[in-house]
């Protein structure tokens, strides 16, 4: 007997005797003593916040994310600072790139699970019955997830940035400028959170966790891998574009050491943020339209 047994149920609801719930108060039908409120987006957000914090997968994905970002950050910091290598003019922030590239997989997974797991478990029916405005559900999920992903990434990325700057003080690293600080903390966190939001929307469109995660990881990795296999000269242009606009290379733009420095083309500055913002907006419109149209 490992499963807990329900206690003896009562034969009738406990609130039956509550004042104001006498049979047929004020004519036919039943009037509840519970105050009726007109719900709004805030109610849906509170609900989604309870949902996201009450499942293990959130703790797992975010836990592994922080572990990867901080762990890899520490490792690269130790390796570079203990070797006699000279950063000669590079700023120390750029070392944060590797941890966040790997960590983005966790945020993608959490994003997909936020929507797709509701379809997998059947929870989505309960959700939609409780909140028939499907747009409100999607918006609430998007807001809650985005804030969680942004805050967690910001904390992890900032921690790693401070660590690197402190550790590599004696290695000839350049003092990072204010703009560089901003891009490698707030900038990268906005980008990663939007990447996760894009995953959340793909999860809502695909309605299948494994499928949507595969699609998103493919989106991150495929352009780079495909570009690697384009040897032909005639494909040089396509190859460069795939390479420059691949998500890892967009991530690197937030650090001074852009992977694109050789070609001098492709996104630079804050461009990657506008690119992912556009993609997310399109995906949001698609997910919203499909959600309205389809049966749950």
């Amino acid at each position: 007997m490992s499963s807990p047994q329900p206690q003896m149920p009562q034969a009738a609801p406990a609130w039956q005797a509550a004042p104001g719930s006498a049979p047929h108060p004020g004519g036919p039908g039943y009037t509840s003593p519970i105050p009726v409120v007109r719900t709004h987006l805030g109610n849906a957000i509170a609900s989604e916040w309870t949902k996201i914090r009450s499942v293990r997968s959130t703790m797992w994905t975010l836990g592994v994310f922080v572990l990867l970002v901080v762990g890899i950050g520490l490792l690269t910091g130790i390796v570079v600072s203990s070797s006699s290598s000279d950063l000669s003019g590079e700023n120390a922030l750029s070392l944060g790139f590797f941890g966040l590239l790997l960590g983005s997989m966790c945020i993608i997974t959490l994003g997909v699970l936020t929507t797709a797991s509701e379809y997998g478990t059947g929870m989505i029916r309960t959700t939609m019955v409780a909140c028939p405005s499907r747009g409100r559900v999607l918006a609430a999920k998007a807001i809650v997830f985005f804030l969680v992903a942004f805050v967690v990434t910001l904390v992890a990325a900032s921690l790693v940035a401070f660590l690197h700057v402190a550790m590599l003080d004696g290695n000839g690293a350049k003092e990072p400028s204010g703009g560089e600080w901003l891009k490698s903390t707030v900038g990268i966190s906005l980008y990663i959170a939007l990447l996760g939001l894009l995953s959340l929307l793909i999860g809502s469109i695909i309605r299948h966790s494994a499928g949507a995660i595969t699609i998103m990881i493919g989106t991150v990795l495929a352009p780079l891998v495909i570009a690697l296999f384009m040897f032909s000269e005639s494909l040089q242009g396509v190859r460069d574009a795939l390479f420059e606009y691949s998500i890892p290379s967009q991530l690197s733009v937030f650090y001074a050491n852009s992977l694109n420095t050789a070609s001098q083309s492709g996104p630079s500055g804050w461009d990657p943020l506008w690119i992912i913002l556009g993609a997310t907006a399109v995906a949001f419109a698609g997910a919203f339209a499909l959600q309205e149209k389809r049966d749950v």
Binding site: S3, P4, Q5, P6, Q7, M8, P9, Q10, A11, A12, P13, A14, W15, Q16, S21, P23, H24, P28, G29, Y30, T31, S32, P33, I34, P35, V36, V37, R38, T39, N43, A44, A46, S47, E48, T50, K51, S54, V55, R56, S57, S117, E118, T121, G122, M123, I124, R125, T126, T127, M128, V129, A130, C131, P132, S133, K293, D295, V296
Partner: protein, 322 residues
Amino acid sequence: MIELEGLTKRYGEKVAVNNLSFTVRPGIVTGFLGPNGAGKSTTMRMILGLDHPTAGDVRIDGKHYQQLKDPLTYIGALLEAKAWHGGRTAYNHLLCLAQSNGIPRSRVRDVLETVGLTAVAKKKTKGFSMGMGQRLGIAAALLGDPRILMFDEPVNGLDPEGIHWIRTLMKSLASQGRTVFVSSHLMSEMALTAEHLVVIGQGRLLADTSMADFIDRNSRSYVRVRSPQRERLLDVLHQAGIVAVESGDGVLEVDGGKAEHIGELAAQHRITLHELSPQQASLEEAFMQLTAESVEYHAHSGTSPASPEPPRQQWGDGWKRG
């Protein structure tokens, strides 16, 4: 009050719900009866705005489900399949529902108490038995103390004690003036709880009648008589003004509870009887007859008629309204 008007749902070629029109009234338990695959769950999903109707309309107190701003305080529903995340605790599952409708947190404890899940409130729902799952679904339905309740096959997976509890609960909810709409594929279950009955088969309305009417019409009592001197017995019965019908295999059926009378007549006329047994046609049989042509999956095919469209029994039409 739930009003359906020509409600139709097609999944590709398959017509799951076909032009359904009926009204579910407050203050009574309305049973929604039909064999598996009749379209009960699909109809309920359309009422809740989950599936879009192909044609027709369904309104709750005159409004579409989408127009309800705090739906859980208006209508509570137990869905057919388990509809929650197994990794969440029962308490958190109900809490997120309460929050989405601005229902006070205290209600979560109340409904857990009502369905008897307080002891497992902090346990993950994936460890729940089927019966506990049904109780959680019912707790979610009761959360907003709604005036309309809809249960899709609520007794599935419940033990006898649980079944008794849900019957009592449904009746007490209806007696408070609420609208209670409950589906089942078991006539016997409906006979015990429902005051009004809506029967569907293959998505079509077969009957919309009060339970009392249904029982009156269908619980025919008769006497089964077998005798080696059948012709003589028929004569004797005829002279006594008793109508007997032959029902094959030499069996006679006499309507009404006249077993003693028939036995005495037979004795007077020295007629040997091999059987004299009072019978009661069960409601289950009546239901099966009513839906005979619309059952999706027959267990046997030996008796199924060769004609593609068997003559539809008309006697159910008498109860249809509108």
